[in-house]
C-alpha cells in the first residue's frame, strides 16, 4: 500500500505492507534509526516520536495510519545544527547513560513541556511514566527536564 508522510520536513512516499509498524517504516524504509525499539508490548517509550505535534509511541501505529501525517523524529529536533534546548539539557545534566531510551525520552519531554511549560518534579515524573530508563534511575532525567523548562521559558 502507498503511504506518504512528511518526516522532519521532507516528504516521503513508499509502498509498505499493511502490517508494517510506523516505527519499522521510519527505521527501515526511511533509515531514521534514532527512534529505538525497546519492547514488543508498547510499554517502554523508546520509540516515542511526534505525529501531528503530539507524542506517540511509534510501535502503536501502523505506517498506513500515518498517511498524510506530519512527523518529527529525534533526527528532526535540532535546527540548523543547533541542539534543541531539551537535547542540550539532557547533555548538560547527564540525563542519559547508554542513550537507548534517550530519543524517546527527549521526544516525550518536549511534548510534555508544550502542554505544561513549568512542571513540578511530580508532574515531570508523572508525565514520563510511559518511558522506561534502566540506566539513570530517572534522577538526572527529571533534572534535565526541569533545566530545559527553565531555559525554554527564559528564551521565550
Amino acid at each position: 500500500m502507498k503511504v506518504s508522510m512528511r518526516v522532519n520536513g521532507v516528504d516521503h512516499e513508499h509502498d509498505v505492507e499493511p502490517r508494517t509498524l510506523l516505527v519499522q517504516h521510519l527505521r527501515e524504509n526511511l533509515r531514521l534509526t534514532g527512534t529505538h525499539v525497546g519492547c514488543d508490548t508498547s510499554q517502554c517509550g523508546a520509540c516515542t516520536i511526534h505525529v501531528n505535534g503530539e507524542a506517540v509511541k511509534a510501535c502503536t501505529m501502523f505506517a498506513i495510519q500515518a498517511d498524510g501525517a506530519e512527523i518529527t523524529t529525534i533526527e528532526g529536533l535540532a535546527t540548523n545544527g543547533e541542539l534543541h534546548p531539551m537535547q542540550k539539557a539532557f547533555w548538560e545534566n547527564h540525563g542519559l547513560q547508554c542513550g537507548y531510551c534517550t530519543p524517546g525520552m527527549i521526544m516525550a519531554s518536549v511534548d510534555m513541556l508544550k502542554n505544561n511549560p513549568n512542571p513540578t518534579e511530580e508532574e515531570i515524573r508523572h508525565g514520563l511514566e510511559g518511558n522506561f530508563c534502566r540506566c539513570t534511575g530517572y534522577h538526572n532525567i527529571v533534572k534535565s527536564v526541569k533545566a530545559a523548562a527553565e531555559s525554554m521559558q527564559g528564551g521565550a
Partner: protein, 785 residues
C-alpha cells in the same frame, strides 16, 4: 590534580546519543544482509523427537531452515568460570539444542529469510515434536530425592558444592553465643532488562575464512576468544568482534550466547551477512537472569551486640544450563564478601549451585555481592531486633576499626585478600549529618500515633570492585578461566592529537569521557584533543571488557601507566631537542623544559611531531609516541559507604512509598563526579526495584510468568524519589589513580537499606522479616496476620 580529573566534564558520547545519530546493533544494515529468527522451545523440559521444517521452507523469501543437527560440528558454549577448587558438572548450551531442552526459550531451529517478517512467519510453521519430561523450577526442590533429573553428569541436579570459611569454628561459636538468630532469606530472581535487547550480525569472507561479528557485547575480546578457540576451533585471529553502541548491559551482555555463534555459523553456511535481533519477549526468556538464592543464616551474638559468628548456607539456582561465568557468581563473588564491614571472628559459607528448568542465571549488576550484602546487612538488623538494640549501635560495635587496616577477614574467607583501606564510621557520620536520626525517631513515633507507618533502613556496606589480581582469581585460584588485567594504548600523532584505545568496553558508563580526562590531564593537553576508541577487537589491545566496576580501577589505571610511558619517551626526545640531558629536564603542563629555565621548553605537540618524523631522535629511541600498558592490580578495591532509606507503609493497602533516599559512598578518588553520581543513581534504582517490585517468576511447569514489561515490574519514573548523594574519599592504594569503581555500588548497597526500612516500619505489627519483593499484597497479608 590537573585540569580535568575531578571535574564534571560533559560527556563526549552525548552529542551523537541525543541526536539519534549513534548506531546501535539494530541500526546496522549490511548490503545483502538477511535475517534470522530463532524457533524456541515452548517446554521447560523435553526431549526433541523430531523437527519438521518443510512447511517453513516453502514460505517465499525463506533462504533456509536449520536445526541443531546441522551444527553438530559447532561446539557447545564454554563455561569460562567454574567454581574454584571443586568439581563443576558443567552443561552448557549449543547454538541450537539437539536432543533435549532444559528451559523454555532455548533455541531448537532457525529460519533465515530476506526480511524479518518472513522469517517470523516461517518460524511459526516449524513443527517440533517434543516428549515432555517432568519439570522442576525451584532449586531447593531440585536437590531433593526423586526430583526430575536434568543432566546425566549432574546427580541430584547439583552443578557444584563450594564452601569457604571455617564450619567447625563457626558452629562452636554459635554454641557459645548469648543469642542466635536464624532466618531464611530469599534473594529472588531478577531479569536485567537492559533497554536494548541482544542482537548479533555476522559477515563471513570465504576466501580468507574470516568472520566479522557485531554483538551486543560488554567484552568483545572475550567474546572473540571464546567463540573462536572454544566454539568454532579456529584461530582467534580469524574473527573480528565489534560491539556497536550498546544500550546497557548490567552484566547480561558479558556472556557468549548461542545466538552470537549461530549467526556466525549461518553466515559461513550461506555466505551472506546474517542479522539476528531478539524481541523483548525473547530477552525475558532467553537472556540471562540474576540472583535467585535461597539462604539459611545463623548469626551468633553476645548480649552487648558483638557478633561472634555467621553461618550461611545457600542454594543458588543456575538455570537449565550454565551461562559463561555462572558458577563464579554465587561462590567467589558472594561467599568471599560475607564479612561486610564487620570484624566477625567466625564465618562459614556453603553453597550448592543447582540446575532447574528455568532460564540461565549469571552476573547481574553487583553479581554475588548484592546477595552477600543483603545477608550481612539483614543479619545486623535481625540481631539488633533480637537484642532490642539500635541498628546503628550494633553496626558500630562490629565495624572493623580504622587502626585494623589492612584487614584480613576471618577464617580465610577472602582467600588472602585484605581490605586495604577503610574508615566505615566516616560515611555513616556524614550520612547522619544529612539525616537527623534522633528527629526521625520522634517523628516516627508521632506518625504511628496518627496511623502512619514510617521506617528507616541502613546499609553500611562494603563491596569488591575491579576484581583482581589475575593469579588470585584465575585457574588454580578462584577458577576464572583467564586473567583480569586490563589494557590501554595511547598514540600521540604528528599533529599532537591523541588516540587512546582500550580493552574496556563501555555501554553507558561514559568511559570515553573519563579516559579522555585522564589522558588530557597527564599529558597536559586539551580534552578536545583526545579521542577514545573501544568496542572493536581490531584496533584495540586485548582486554577483558567492562563489568565488575573495573573500567576506571583497572582500565583507567592501564591508561595512566601507558601515558607515563609516553611521558618518559617524550622526556628523552624533548631533552634531545633541547640539547640537554634527560636528567636535567622535567615534564610539566604538557611541556618538557630545562630544570630552572622554563623558557627553554618543547611542547608535547612539538615533541610528538619530532617523534613522528624521526629525523633526529635520541640514540636507541624508535620513532612515534605510541605506548601500551597492561595493568593487573595487586588487589581488588574495596568501596564502602552508608545508604539510608526512609519509607512509608500504608496500613490499609500495604503499599510502600520511598520517601527519602540518601547515600554517602566512598569510591576512592573520583575522575568525573557527574558520571560517578549517575552510576550511583542508576544502581540505587535497580537495588530499590529488587527490594520492592521486580521478580522473575516461573510457574510449576517452567513457563516464565513475568515474561514481558507488563508482568515484570521495571520501575517507572513515578516510582522513585530524587536521591541525595554525598561522598567521602579514601583513595585506593591498589592503583595509581586511587579510584575504586562505582558501577555496582548503588545496587549492592540499596536493597538491604530498603528492606530494613520496611521492616522498621512494620515493627509495630511484630513483623521481623518478609522476603522480597515487598509487594503491597505481601505486606498487607503480614499486617493482617
Amino acid at each position: 590534580m590537573g585540569k580535568y580529573i575531578g571535574e564534571s566534564v560533559l560527556r563526549k558520547e552525548d552529542p551523537r546519543l541525543v541526536t539519534g545519530e549513534a548506531k546501535y546493533l539494530e541500526d546496522i544494515q549490511l548490503s545483502g544482509m538477511v535475517h534470522a529468527v530463532v524457533k524456541r522451545s515452548d517446554y521447560a523440559h523435553a526431549k526433541i523427537k523430531n523437527i519438521d521444517t518443510s512447511e517453513a521452507e516453502k514460505v517465499p523469501g525463506v533462504i533456509g531452515v536449520w536445526t541443531g543437527k546441522d551444527f553438530e560440528d559447532v561446539n557447545p558454549m564454554p563455561c569460562a568460570w567454574q567454581a574454584g577448587g571443586v568439581d563443576n558438572n558443567a552443561n552448557t548450551p549449543r547454538v541450537l539444542e539437539i536432543d533435549k531442552v532444559t528451559f523454555t526459550g532455548q533455541g531448537v531451529a532457525v529460519v533465515v529469510a530476506e526480511d524479518r517478517n518472513i522469517a517470523e512467519d516461517a518460524s511459526s510453521k516449524i513443527v517440533v515434536d517434543y516428549e515432555e519430561l517432568p519439570t522442576v523450577v525451584s532449586a531447593e526442590e531440585a536437590i531433593k530425592p526423586g526430583a526430575p533429573q536434568l543432566h546425566e553428569n549432574a546427580p541430584n541436579n547439583i552443578c557444584m558444592e563450594w564452601e569457604c570459611g571455617n564450619q567447625e569454628g563457626t558452629e562452636k561459636a554459635l554454641g557459645e553465643a548469648d543469642v542466635v538468630v536464624k532466618e531464611q532469606l530469599v534473594n529472588q530472581r531478577l531479569i536485567p532488562s537492559s533497554m536494548e535487547p541482544r542482537g548479533a550480525i555476522a559477515d563471513y569472507q570465504p576466501a580468507t575464512e574470516e568472520f566479522t561479528v557485531w554483538m551486543t557485547s560488554q567484552a568483545p575480546h572475550v567474546h572473540r576468544l571464546l567463540a573462536t578457540a572454544f566454539v568454532f576451533g579456529i584461530p582467534e585471529t580469524k574473527m573480528r568482534v565489534i560491539a556497536a553502541h550498546v544500550g546497557g548491559g548490567f552484566g547480561c551482555k558479558i556472556f557468549l550466547y548461542p545466538e552470537y555463534c549461530l549467526v556466525a555459523a549461518l553466515a559461513r553456511k550461506i555466505e551472506r551477512p546474517v542479522k539476528w535481533m531478539e524481541t523483548r519477549s525473547e530477552n525475558f526468556a532467553s537472556t540471562t537472569h540474576g540472583r535467585d538464592h535461597v539462604t539459611q543464616i545463623e548469626v551468633g551474638a553476645k548480649n552487648d551486640g558483638t557478633i561472634n559468628s555467621l553461618k550461611v548456607t545457600t542454594v543458588a539456582n543456575l538455570g537449565g544450563t550454565l551461562s559463561t561465568i555462572a558458577p563464579g557468581i554465587p561462590t567467589t563473588l558472594y561467599g568471599r564478601l560475607l564479612s561486610g564491614t564487620y570484624k566477625f571472628p567466625n564465618i562459614y559459607c556453603g553453597v550448592k549451585g543447582v540446575y532447574t528448568n528455568t532460564g540461565m542465571v549469571d552476573a547481574y549488576r553487583g553479581a554475588g555481592r548484592p546477595e552477600a550484602t543483603y545477608v550481612v546487612e539483614r543479619a545486623l538488623d535481625l540481631v539488633a531486633n533480637k537484642l532490642g538494640m539500635d541498628v546503628l549501635d550494633v553496626r558500630r560495635k562490629n565495624f572493623i576499626q580504622t587502626n585494623q587496616f589492612p584487614y584480613l577477614p576471618a577464617d580465610g574467607i577472602t582467600k588472602g585478600l585484605t581490605y586495604d583501606s577503610g574508615d566505615y564510621e566516616k560515611p555513616l557520620n556524614k550520612a547522619l549529618q544529612m539525616f537527623n536520626y534522633g528527629n526521625f525517631r520522634e517523628e516516627q513515633k508521632r506518625a504511628r500515633d496518627e496511623g502512619k507507618y514510617l521506617g528507616v533502613g541502613f546499609s553500611t556496606y562494603i563491596e569488591a570492585c575491579g576484581v583482581a589480581p589475575s593469579a588470585w582469581i584465575g585457574v588454580g585460584g578462584e577458577g576464572w578461566g583467564a586473567g583480569l588485567w586490563e589494557s590501554a594504548n595511547i598514540r600521540v600523532h604528528l599533529t599532537g592529537k591523541v588516540v587512546v584505545t582500550t580493552g574496556s568496553s563501555p555501554h553507558g558508563q561514559g568511559t570515553e569521557t573519563t579516559m579522555a580526562q585522564i589522558a588530557a590531564d597527564e599529558l597536559g593537553i586539551p580534552y578536545e584533543d583526545v579521542e577514545v576508541k573501544y568496542n572493536d577487537t581490531l584496533g584495540t589491545p586485548f582486554g577483558y571488557g567492562t563489568y565488575g566496576s573495573r573500567s576506571a580501577a583497572v582500565g583507567g589505571a592501564a591508561l595512566f601507566n601507558a601515558v607515563q610511558k609516553v611521558k618518559q619517551k617524550a622526556v628523552r626526545i624533548g631533552a634531545h631537542m633541547l640539547e640537554a640531558s634527560p636528567d636535567d629536564v622535567v615534564f610539566e603542563d604538557g611541556k618538557v623544559s630545562v630544570k630552572g629555565s622554563p623558557d627553554q621548553a618543547k611542547t608535547i605537540q612539538e615533541i610528538a611531531g619530532a617523534a613522528a618524523l624521526g629525523y633526529s631522535l635520541p640514540e636507541g629511541d624508535e620513532p612515534f609516541l605510541d605506548e601500551t600498558a597492561y595493568f593487573d592490580p595487586p588487589n581488588t578495591t574495596w568501596p564502602f559507604g552508608t545508604h539510608i532509606c526512609v519509607v512509608e507503609v500504608e496500613k490499609d493497602t500495604g503499599s510502600v512509598m520511598v520517601k527519602k533516599y540518601l547515600a554517602v559512598d566512598d569510591v576512592g578518588n573520583v575522575v568525573n563526579p557527574m558520571i560517578v553520581d549517575g552510576q550511583i543513581h542508576g544502581g540505587i534504582a535497580q537495588g530499590v526495584a529488587q527490594a520492592l517490585w521486580e521478580s522473575g517468576e516461573y510457574n510449576e511447569s517452567g513457563q516464565l510468568v513475568s515474561g514481558s514489561m507488563m508482568d515484570y515490574a521495571i520501575p517507572r519514573t513515578d516510582c522513585l524519589p530524587s536521591f541525595e548523594l554525598d561522598r567521602t574519599v579514601t583513595p585506593s592504594p591498589t592503583n595509581p589513580l586511587g579510584v575504586k569503581g562505582v558501577g555496582e555500588t548503588g545496587t549492592i548497597a540499596s536493597t538491604p537499606a530498603v528492606v530494613n526500612a520496611v521492616m522498621d516500619a512494620l515493627s509495630p505489627f511484630g513483623v521481623t522479616h518478609l522476603d522480597m519483593p515487598l509487594t503491597s499484597q505481601k505486606i498487607w497479608n503480614a499486617i493482617q496476620s
